[in-house]
Chain length 582, copies 2
Amino acid sequence: MNAKSVPVSTAALPSSRKVYESGILYPHIKVPMRAIQLHPSANEPDVWVYDSSGPYTDPRANIQIERGLTRIREPWILARQDVERQETQQQAINQSPLRAKSNAGVTQLAYARAGIITPEMEFVAIRENVGRAKLKAANGRDGNSWGANVPEYVTPEFVRAEIAAGRAIIPANINHPESEPMIIGRNFLVKINANIGNSAVSSSMAEEVDKMVWAIRWGADTVMDLSTGKNIHNIREWILRNSPVPIGTVPIYQALEKVDGVAEALTWEIFRDTLIEQAEQGVDYFTIHAGVRLAYIPLTANRVTGIVSRGGSIMAKWCLAHHRESFLYEHFEEICEICRAYDVSFSLGDGLRPGSIADANDAAQFAELRTLGELTRIAWRHDCQVMIEGPGHVPMHKIKENMDEQLKHCAEAPFYTLGPLTTDIAPGYDHITSAIGAAMIGWFGTAMLCYVTPKEHLGLPNRDDVKTGVITYKIAAHAADLAKGHPGARDRDDAISRARFDFRWEDQFNLSLDPDTACAFHDETMPREAHKLAHFCSMCGPKFCSMRISHEVQAAARESGMSEMALKFREQGEIYIRSELG
Amino acid sequence: MNAKSVPVSTAALPSSRKVYESGILYPHIKVPMRAIQLHPSANEPDVWVYDSSGPYTDPRANIQIERGLTRIREPWILARQDVERQETQQQAINQSPLRAKSNAGVTQLAYARAGIITPEMEFVAIRENVGRAKLKAANGRDGNSWGANVPEYVTPEFVRAEIAAGRAIIPANINHPESEPMIIGRNFLVKINANIGNSAVSSSMAEEVDKMVWAIRWGADTVMDLSTGKNIHNIREWILRNSPVPIGTVPIYQALEKVDGVAEALTWEIFRDTLIEQAEQGVDYFTIHAGVRLAYIPLTANRVTGIVSRGGSIMAKWCLAHHRESFLYEHFEEICEICRAYDVSFSLGDGLRPGSIADANDAAQFAELRTLGELTRIAWRHDCQVMIEGPGHVPMHKIKENMDEQLKHCAEAPFYTLGPLTTDIAPGYDHITSAIGAAMIGWFGTAMLCYVTPKEHLGLPNRDDVKTGVITYKIAAHAADLAKGHPGARDRDDAISRARFDFRWEDQFNLSLDPDTACAFHDETMPREAHKLAHFCSMCGPKFCSMRISHEVQAAARESGMSEMALKFREQGEIYIRSELG
């Protein structure tokens, strides 16, 4: 690949600048955030927001795709003196990969259990607190966390304790030092994942790197590379070297390529070598479908849509062909040893997730979930970080049960769901059918939401689809944060609402999840620059503007001391007494 | 207006034909539905779906915009012998409008209370049962209706009883005989409304008629004409004469035009004349903001976004300017008399709905809601049909309270909400922020969902925005129907899922809410016709297709009697015993 041909987006977002907050335990760490500057008439401080876009949105950064990003975590990793360089037989790796020395546990979970607060932990603590310190006085807590323990303020020790308890993970392979640490757990902000990846049918390496940068520009917290074509290894290399967010994969896809797509030809040895290859490259989390056991496959026989997980169906076919237990299940402890040596987190795959409303919450799905709980405990014994994948297609009234069962059987390991889609009838709009389910399950406690794009069920997402998917899932995740009552989550809503009420159109655009689209939509009907200062919009025109009238109402209220009247009404409950019709 | 210049869409939807089911009590009524024909290989009957698109999708219909639709309800109305032709001073009405004779109650509520099952009631009963009769045996009931009483089968008597109890309405002005009756109530299918209308800034009559036809093509159950410009009367005339769905308006907008936009110049007399003008034209429901009482206005003084309802802010300004009680509130009984004489349903407006997350569920909003409950009872005394408008902007954890309070204070009158939007930070995507809230509140019991388009807060929706808004809200309404457990609601999901599993691509498109978009998205990556029969898609390519592998799994399962094994596993609970790691 000619890296120079990769035209990634590097501009800052409108009216935004990159700011970095330093650590206290580790003063050299620099945690990136985005400060959105408002119009001087607002007389308000900058609004700081969570920023997963990496150096690409920092105009001071020197982006060279062919060289990769700065390896910010390398000194942190080497300082721990528990890793060593390896020889490797893999091609195209321009470094000797790191591996844990002898029997050292180099996972964040191992450190957390040992009482060590790593730089990664302080990094995510600062990151999670975005805006919280300066604003916690402004809004009281308001929400229903469904039993989650969302703290007023995230301390590094809180992060350590959550990781030690298995309730949160920091996916951070020691061979992916370019990554900015982030945390996934029920007691932290809800995160989103974007899937990219080519297939045998379409798309190129350059496109995939561009999609990764594009996805994080709009807010993806992690990216999964689901490539299935010929160039899996190289695409992944380019993505990893240029990704500031954790990268996940489904290693069985590459293993299957190695046996020319014949599932029954897979062997444990081929799979194991694939895991090591990817761990050495720096993959931060692996989807492993070790819960698809031979005994559960018959439970899918009468389903409307059978097994819809690619990995799940590959393993089911293998099990049936050999009529024996899954090699992923039988070799799970060896997989743990590999993950432990590089700190690859588990994303225990739900290979039997429902692919239709008809199949939601069925025996196959919940049988597998219990096995995932069992595997979680095994992984924890090996100091491995774990999250659990969830469905899929689920009608609204069955969503809560998914969360409850997951919490019950998987001991509060973070849940990571695909949607769920709340109906099957809208191909072309499945970002929306699934955003409904995603927002709800995020509120109930899911830690990370895997996006669904408009192309789901129809084709591979292109660049526009990736953006639509990411923005849609930022909405779902933020709606969940609001409903859970994350301190400070409402600050951005309040800032944009004040801007709306004050007719600060530019501030409204700049504070939104997608300033470009908001501005473009506004300009369709009111294109002139002067209209961005107009105290009305095209919806109602100048005469009918409720916001403008509201200002007059508030002015009148101030003159006549109506605020005091309101207080009086409320105190006396008089508004209800007076509401009887005379 | 040159009606010939209105290029409305008249083709049938793909692979669909219009079918009509006749009544039993009233054999002459013909209830339209859409039958979707599947590929012969499916060996399945046509899938019938609810169809609000009117004659426009019937190739046999003779559509002439300048003449208007067939007046199907006229004989039903005249047969009741309780109406008479009126003289009118309005221009551009090409008929003498009907009005109730002397003191006759000509509302569906009056008939229902008198024990009369009208043709309108039988019509909606048949309509609600779409697919229910032939399929109720297939799927058991599955859902949580939150206390709604959703029947197995809707009888005309059930409809009558629900209307008599005030729990449902059929908006059906005697001067809108072109309309096909539909019902709005918690125990029926969730409906959606699409807002159209020009403004002082943009759009023409032809555009608005086209938008109406376009909106119902994709599934809008009612349409509100929110025009605010110069041509309000004429635009409404064209829309009414060509609309097979009920039309709602906010009469205060036109009244304000009559006083040149000066809210304080409004008078009861001007408003009353406007109501009569619109009632004579055939408007089916009026939004009346009679709950915005003088005493509540101070409660909005400290809000982040004040009063965001246009009607609410107009009335607030009037009340403050005169420092007296709202003339809508004081003359409410006279308004009821007008509505009663034409059967215009009330949509009691939530003029104090929250316009931001910060203002949700506040004292102003709930004070008004209680007054709306009080007004509901007054309207019922006058035999008027009533629904209640609801918010707005509400975070997820405060949505249920809205439904609970509405049920409590408004005696189960149907709830009709705008969204609600679950966050403020995504202008350009508010169809999605609100679809989340709409699906949830629809599940909880809201009877009709007012759509929100991507342009909300930014500009007037164009044709594409109208379609996006309608499809998005069909998703929300259907997700709610599924979760409530409407019998038969899942049949379309199951049919599309079977098509998906069988690689019947054309069936998958044709069964979807938007066949054109689904097909176009598929063709982006697999354009050739032959690919529509392909047993794979561009997402995974031929080697990795989980659906294809699943077929192999199911074939193997059949061979080895795995279904029986599954049954055995389940009976013995053995899958859980065996899931201990050996």
